[in-house]
Assembly symmetry: C2
Homo-oligomer: 477 residues x 2
C-alpha cells in the first residue's frame, strides 16, 4: 500500500465513526470551517466530522490518539484569535460540535440547565426563558456561538459585571479527553470541595486539553425591573467616577456599564441601519448604563433616577436619556453591540482586547492615546468596552484615506505599543478573547517561564500524544 | 557520621533559613501544631518553621525538594479534615504561615486588597472596613483562620449565597511551588483569558501543589441596609419554598438563608451563654434570613417585610421575628454560628458536610432521617446549614446516655449511610471542608478512575519529588 492509501484508509476509519453523511471531504464543503470572521487565519484540513453524541466524540479522539492524528474542535466558529481554525499546511481534522445540540435537562427549582456542548447560546437563552429563568451570558454573536466554545474561551460579554464570565456560570462539565476517555463531571452543586478543580482547568483551555461535550449551566431569576440609560460625559475620569457611584448604589443590580467614545457613536450612526445619536449635542465619551432588579420594576427606575441625579449634581453627567420602552432599551444596546461592525466600512482596524485594574483606566487611556497618535498620526482610536470590568476593546481604525494593507501590516507594531502600556499597568493582553494562534507567541514572551512551564506540564499530562488543537495557546517548544 | 547526625544537620539547614528564634524543636512547643480542633488527627513532626517572607518559604521548599523532605503547610490550623496536620509516624516538617501576615496593599477604587498568605481573616475584614469596603468571607473561625488556608480549602461559610466561595473572592495568587520556584500570579484583573487557569488549581488543592504566600482579594461596597429575621417553619419543604421566594424577590441582596432544626436551637439555648429562643412557641424547623442592600437601608427593610408577608400568606411561615438592632442581628447569627459548639456538651457527634442539588434537599433529608434512625435508634440528628447553597452540615449527636467511644466508633458506618444517599442525589461528600485525610480514601472509591488519574498527573507535574503535604487529598498509589 502507498502512504496515500494508508492515509485514505485512516480517514475512512474516522468517517465510519459518524457515518458518511456526517463527514465533509469535499474542499468546497470544508472551506467554511477553515476561516474565521476577521480573515486573519486560514487553515487546511482533509476532513470535517460532525459527531452527534459524546460516544462518537470519544471514539474519534481514541482513534486520533492512537494514530497521532491532530484534531481541532470547532464550536460556533465565532472565536476571534484563530483558536478554532485548523493550522495552515497541516492535516488537522476538524470536529464540529454543531450536531451535539440537545438541551438535556432544565431544573428551574435548582436553577440549573444541562446542555450539550454544541447548543447555540440563543437557544439556551430561549430554553431558560421558557421556565421564567435567565441565562445571563450575552454576546454579540449569541445567535451562532455555541456553549462548548463559550466555555473553552471563558466567554465574557456585556453581563459580566453582575453575573461573571462563563466560568462563573457553569457548575459542571462533561469532557472527552484526548485519549477518548470521558470525564463525567456534570455536577449540579454550588458547593463541592472534593479535590482539584478540573472544571476550571478545562474552561478557558481553548480546546487544548479535551472537548467539552456537556455542561451544567446556572440559571437566575428573570429580573422584574430593567432600565437602560445613555449618558454624555466629559472624560474617562468622569466615567470611572460615575461607575463607582453606580456600583455603590446598585451593587449587583448594576448589570452593565459600557464606555463608548464619540467616534464609535459616529461610526454606528453612519453605518448601522436604524442607529441614531440619542442626545442632541455631541460629547467626548458616553456611558451605557444597565440596571436590573429582582424585587420590582420600581426599584430599577428609582435607582436609575437617583444615579443620574447624583451624576448631574456631581458634574459627572453632561446630558442623559433613559430608555422609555423595551424597544428603546434594545436600540441603545444595539448601538453598543454594533460598534465592532461599524468599524469595518471605515477601513482597516487593529484590535486589542485588553484589561487593566479599573483604577488605572484613565491613565492607561491617556498614555495609549499619546503613544498611538505619536506612532501613527491620523489614527482613529475607537476604544470602547466594559468599563466596570476594566476591559477595553482598544481598536484603532486606519487614518482616513490610508492604504488598508499598509495599515494592517503595522498590526504587531501597534500591539507592541498598546500591550506594553497594558503590562506596565499590570493588565492583560487578552481580557476575554483568549490566546489561540493570535497571541500565542506574545504570551510566551510576557509570562514568567515557570508559568509557561506549568502550563506545558498540564498539557503533557492531559494530552500525551499532543493531538488536541496543537499549537494553540502553547507553541511547539 | 551516623544517620542521626546527618538528619540533625539537615534540620539545622532548614532552621538556618528562618533563624533559630523562628523554629520550634522542643516537643512541648511543637505539640499545638500536631493536633486539630476535633481531635480526630494527631501527627508527628521534628520541626516547625515560621518563615516571614516568600523568599524564606521558597528556600525551605527548594531544600525540601532537593532532600526529599516532606512538608506540611499550616495556616490557622482550623481545618476540619486533617489536611493541615502532619502525618502520624512520619517526619513531616510543619511550615507555619503565622508570621507571613502583612496587608500588602488596599485599593478601594479598584476594590482589591493584596495580602500575605498568613493574614488572619478578621484582620482582612478590619482592613477592608477601614476603607469602607467589605470582604465578605464569613466563618465561625474568622478570628484565627488565615487566608492561605481559606484559599487552600476554598472556604465557604455563611455569605456564599451572595458572594460565592473563597474561589470567587480571589483575583490572583502568589504561590511557592514545591521546587521552591515562585509563581507571581498576583493579578488584579476581573477579566484575563490568557492560558490555563492555574489560580483555581491551587485554590482548593489543600496545600498539595504549593504554598499560597500571597493573594489579591476582591472587595465590595459596604451594604447600607441590613436585615436579619428568624422564622419558625413546619417543614424542610416549606423552608425550600420560602428560600425560592426570597431568592426571586431579593436576588443577590439575599446574603444568607440558613436552615436550623428545633434540636439545634435547643442545644444552643441550653449550652451557649446568652442565647435564647427568639420565638415563644417551638417549631420543627427554622430559617435565619439575612438581607443586605447597597442602595438604602429602606430597601432591605421593605424586602424583608414583603418576604415575610408573602411567607405568612402562603402558609410557609408559622411565626417570625425581625431583629430590630445590630445587637439583635448579631445575636441571631451567634445562635447559628454556635450550633456546632453546642453539640459538644451533648456527647459525641458524627459530622457530615454534604451538598445536594437544592431541589433534592427535602427528599434527601427525609431519606437520611429514616436510614439513620433505623441504624441507630435514639440518634439525635442536628442537620443545619446553608440551604441556599444545598449545603447541609448533617451532624448526628449520640443517643442520650450512650457510650461516647462506642458511638464514635460507628463514624464510618454512619458516613456510609449518609454519603450513600448524598451520592444517589448527585451530591458531594465534602461541600466546604475539603478532603484532607478524613475523606481521602472515600474519595478514591466514589470518583471515576479517570478523575483520580488526572488529579494524580497534575500532582506529579507540580510536585515531582512528592514532598508537598503528602497523603492529603490523594493517597499513595
Amino acid at each position: 500500500m502507498t502512504n496515500d492509501t494508508v492515509y485514505s484508509e485512516l480517514l475512512d476509519r474516522f468517517v465510519a465513526i459518524v457515518g458518511e453523511r456526517n463527514a465533509l471531504r469535499e474542499p468546497a464543503d470544508i472551506a467554511p470551517y477553515l476561516v474565521e470572521n476577521r480573515g486573519l487565519y486560514h487553515g487546511t484540513s482533509p476532513l470535517v466530522l460532525k459527531p452527534a453524541t459524546t460516544a462518537e466524540v470519544s471514539a474519534i479522539l481514541k482513534l486520533a490518539s492512537e494514530t497521532g492524528t491532530a484534531i481541532v474542535p470547532q464550536s460556533g466558529n465565532t472565536g476571534l484569535v484563530g483558536g478554532q481554525t485548523p493550522r495552515e499546511g497541516h492535516q488537522d481534522i476538524v470536529i464540529s460540535l454543531q450536531r451535539l445540540n440537545r438541551i438535556r435537562d432544565v431544573d428551574p427549582v435548582a436553577n440549573v440547565m444541562v446542555v450539550d456542548g454544541g447548543c447555540i447560546l440563543a437557544d439556551v437563552h430561549k430554553a431558560a426563558a421558557e421556565v421564567n429563568r435567565l441565562f445571563p451570558l450575552s454576546l454579540g454573536s449569541e445567535g451562532s456561538c455555541r456553549i462548548g466554545g463559550n466555555l473553552s474561551t471563558n466567554a465574557g460579554g456585556t453581563a459580566v459585571l453582575a453575573y461573571g464570565n462563563m466560568r462563573h456560570l457553569c457548575l459542571g462539565l462533561e469532557v472527552v479527553l484526548p485519549t477518548g476517555e470521558i470525564w463525567d463531571g456534570l455536577r449540579r452543586l454550588k458547593k463541592d470541595n472534593t479535590g482539584y478543580d478540573l472544571r476550571d482547568l478545562f474552561i478557558g483551555a481553548e480546546g487544548t486539553l479535551g472537548i467539552i461535550t456537556g455542561a451544567v449551566l446556572k440559571l437566575f431569576p428573570q429580573p422584574l425591573g430593567h432600565q437602560v440609560a445613555f449618558a454624555g460625559l466629559k472624560s474617562v475620569e468622569d466615567a470611572l467616577a460615575l461607575f463607582e457611584k453606580a456600583s455603590s448604589l446598585c451593587g449587583t443590580a448594576l448589570t452593565g456599564f459600557e464606555l463608548m467614545p464619540r467616534i464609535g457613536v459616529e461610526f454606528t450612526v453612519r453605518h448601522i441601519e436604524g442607529v441614531r445619536d440619542p442626545l442632541s449635542n455631541p460629547y467626548p465619551w458616553y456611558a451605557l448604563i444597565d440596571i436590573s432588579t429582582s424585587d420590582s420594576a420600581e426599584t430599577a427606575a428609582r435607582m436609575m433616577e437617583t444615579l443620574l441625579e447624583q451624576g448631574f449634581e456631581a458634574g459627572l453627567v453632561e446630558d442623559a436619556v433613559i430608555a422609555a420602552s423595551e424597544a428603546q432599551r434594545a436600540a441603545l444596546w444595539h448601538m453598543r453591540e454594533s460598534m465592532s461592525d461599524a468599524q469595518k466600512p471605515e477601513g482597516g482596524s487593529i484590535k486589542h482586547d485588553v484589561s487593566v485594574p479599573i483604577s488605572s483606566i484613565p491613565r492607561f487611556m491617556a498614555e495609549a492615546e499619546q503613544a498611538v497618535m505619536a506612532a501613527m498620526p491620523g489614527a482613529r482610536i475607537c476604544a470602547f468596552g466594559h468599563l466596570g470590568d476594566g476591559n477595553i476593546h482598544y481598536n484603532i481604525s486606519q487614518p482616513v484615506g490610508a492604504d488598508k494593507a499598509a495599515f494592517i501590516a503595522r498590526w504587531r507594531e501597534m500591539n507592541h505599543i498598546v500591550h506594553g502600556l497594558v503590562l506596565a499597568h499590570g493588565g492583560s493582553i487578552s481580557a476575554e478573547h483568549g490566546i489561540g494562534q493570535l497571541k500565542r507567541d506574545e504570551l510566551a514572551t510576557i509570562r514568567p517561564s515557570i508559568e509557561m512551564e506549568l502550563m506545558r506540564r498540564i498539557k503533557n499530562a492531559f494530552d500525551p500524544a499532543g493531538i488536541m488543537n496543537p499549537d494553540k495557546v502553547l507553541g511547539a517548544r
